[in-house]
């Protein structure tokens, strides 16, 4: 499925998909998931050396 934000015409040359993940929406979700994983990793990192 092509990720086309509202008002963004199909076939516009500057409306290319990202090089990975296929659609921009997936790329955005991946970045937010990465942020959640990073915060969790920091929390675990601090916890690991707190004892």
């Amino acid at each position: 499925m092509k990720d086309t934000p509202r008002g963004e015409p199909d076939g516009e040359p500057d409306n290319d998909p990202p090089p990975i993940l296929g659609t921009w929406r997936r790329a955005y979700v991946a970045l937010l998931a990465y942020l959640a994983a990073l915060i969790l990793a920091f929390w675990l990192f601090a916890k690991a050396f707190a004892a």
């Binding site: 500057d14 409306n15 970045l31 990465y34 990073l38 915060i39 990192f45 050396f49």
Partner: protein, 564 residues
């Protein structure tokens, strides 16, 4: 500074300037000079965005902040990836398609000329103040190393930046940012690696992290919420997101980076890359500061890291505080040894006891340092609440790292400073010419005329930055000063762009009134409450939106239309 350090530093600076001049050649139209003819690839924009944000302050002050306050400052960036998603999805396509030179030019198309002028003026005031701080920070470096007066260092730094920025415009700025970011990363990894390698042989990296934790500094995630606390998970996620939305979405010094992209996709990629790389980079910088703390747990640190003030303390009647500091250092060092032994022994209860001992010793150490700093302030040599945060990392680098590496790290600091300053004077010149001069003074000039005006404005803002950088000494921890300064204005900027993007029925006069109301609310909060500055962005943005709607309902509604 040894000859090898001078060689590395000089070659690096010369290369930056020559590379900038070479890359910037051929900028013979306004479009090429200010937008690089919209030809930039995503990776150049991505590193330029990161380099613009990572100033010398990032190296000098963030490492020191980690030493003093721990790693919780990393939370300040937690909202950044969310902001990158919003800007990539909403702002970047709108700016690209509208074909504007500046974000504020778009505001006239959406609202009216007075809103554009007001927001441009806010940007010029806010970024004009920030560029002075960005130039002053590296002046600290040379003042500490060479004892050069601030005026000389700011003049040299400013002249180098103005040279390639004036000649090559944004192409020179972006490609030198790219190269400067690589130098910064080399300096950062080298500093971190050497900080760890300089620890005593029997102290492992894991031991070092345990000491940082016991000192209360391994705190990258603080989940307790407090309105007055600057850095916790919630202020970072929400306050930091609003600040990042304002900085990357409304501040011309950043918007201009991704306006140069050859397509929307390239601009989006550059923003998302920033969202991926920024937090780990800040984490590594803070970790470097934390390792410096561990290093100075085993190697006696100066009582005060500011060289001149330390000499004053050593030469005066302050033997009591010096003795107290010495005793606290020995006690902390001994406590650290005992804690490491307990860890290696695997006895959890004993380790917990040793951690408490070490934490107590750390508090004593901090108390002795605070007393020494207060004495400097009480003697009238520095302002009340004086701190030496900005001198900690440099003291470590200059005193304990090998020849060549000192030059590399100084080159990284200069690269960071130059990347920020060049982007700032480039964007200040762009807004001055496009949003004010071309719009309100001379509307029908030739392209060549505006190109020359842009070059003249670049020289003007460079000269302005050099002159006003003299006031940097009174600003305390520089990174906080810059971020707080931004927060006084960013709420208003963010609010008006939120109106532009998401509230199509709001017109120009309502938006104008909303911005004034938002700024009034921020300055009132700053003057009369203790709310942490990160929340100013949220407050300002909300007041702008509510104020504009109130105006529209009260005045525009009577005329039967929302548009003013």
């Amino acid at each position: 500074m040894r000859p090898l350090d001078w060689a590395v530093l000089t070659v690096s600076l010369a290369f930056i300037v020559i590379y900038g001049l070479w890359r910037g050649r051929g900028s013979s139209t306004v479009n090429q000079y200010l937008l690089a003819g919209k030809t930039m690839p995503w990776y150049a924009m991505a590193l330029s965005i990161m380099a613009t944000q990572a100033s010398a302050i990032t190296f000098i002050s963030t490492t020191g902040q980690s030493y003093v306050d721990g790693m919780r400052f990393v939370q300040f960036y937690f909202g950044l990836p969310v902001a990158m998603v919003v800007i990539a999805a909403v702002a970047a396509p709108i700016f690209h398609r509208s074909g504007v030179y500046t974000a504020y030019e778009y505001l006239e198309r959406r609202f009216d000329a007075k809103t554009r002028a007001l927001v441009s003026a806010i940007f010029l005031i806010q970024r004009g103040l920030a560029v002075s701080v960005a130039l002053y920070a590296p002046a600290i470096v040379l003042t500490v190393i060479l004892g050069w007066p601030d005026r000389v260092t700011t003049l040299v730094m400013g002249s180098l930046v103005v040279l390639y920025t004036t000649f090559g415009g944004i192409k020179a700025v972006t490609w030198t940012d790219f190269q400067q970011m690589l130098i910064m990363m080399a300096g950062l990894f080298t500093a971190l690696a050497l900080a760890v390698l300089r620890l005593p042989a029997d102290v492992s990296f894991a031991d070092a992290l345990a000491l940082v934790s016991a000192a209360g500094k391994l705190n990258p995630v603080v989940t307790q919420f407090d309105w007055n606390d600057r850095y916790n998970l919630w202020s970072g996620l929400f306050g930091g997101m609003f600040l990042a939305l304002a900085y990357f979405g409304c501040d011309q010094s950043q918007v201009q980076r991704y306006l140069t992209g050859r397509s929307i996709a390239q601009s989006r990629l550059s923003l998302l890359f920033n969202g991926v790389a920024k937090i780990p980079m800040q984490f590594l910088i803070l970790l470097t500061g934390a390792m410096v703390l561990v290093f100075y747990t085993f190697e006696k640190p100066p009582m005060v890291f500011h060289k001149a003030e330390m000499e004053w303390l050593a030469g005066g009647a302050h033997t009591d505080v010096a003795a107290r500091h010495e005793a606290a250092f020995e006690k902390r060092k001994e406590s650290a040894r005992r804690l490491i032994e307990a860890r290696h022994g695997g006895d959890a209860a004993r380790t917990a006891t040793r951690r408490e001992e070490f934490r107590g010793a750390q508090r004593e150490m901090e108390s002795a340092r605070r007393e020494a700093l207060d004495r400097v302030a009480q003697a009238g040599r520095q302002r009340k609440g004086f701190n030496d945060t900005n001198h900690i990392f440099l003291t470590f680098v200059l005193g304990h790292l090998p020849a060549g590496v000192v030059g590399l790290i100084l080159a990284a600091i200069f690269a960071a400073a130059m990347s920020t300053i060049s982007a700032e004077i480039n964007s200040l010149a762009t807004v001055s010419v496009i949003d004010l001069y071309k719009r309100f003074v001379r509307r029908d000039g030739e392209d060549r005329h505006y190109l020359n005006a842009s070059r003249a404005a670049t020289v003007f803002w460079g000269a302005y930055a050099v002159m006003t950088a003299q006031f940097g000494a009174g600003l305390g921890s520089l990174i906080e000063a810059v971020n707080m300064l931004g927060s006084l204005f960013y709420g208003g900027l963010l609010g008006v762009f939120a109106l532009a993007f998401f509230f199509p029925r709001i017109g120009g006069t309502a938006a104008f009134a909303g911005v004034l109301a938002g700024e009034a609310a921020i300055f009132a909060a700053h003057s009369f409450t203790g709310i942490a500055f990160l929340w100013y962005n949220v407050l300002g943005c909300l007041v702008v939106i509510l104020g504009a709607h109130a105006w529209a309902l009260t005045f525009d509604g009577r005329r039967g239309t929302a548009a003013a």
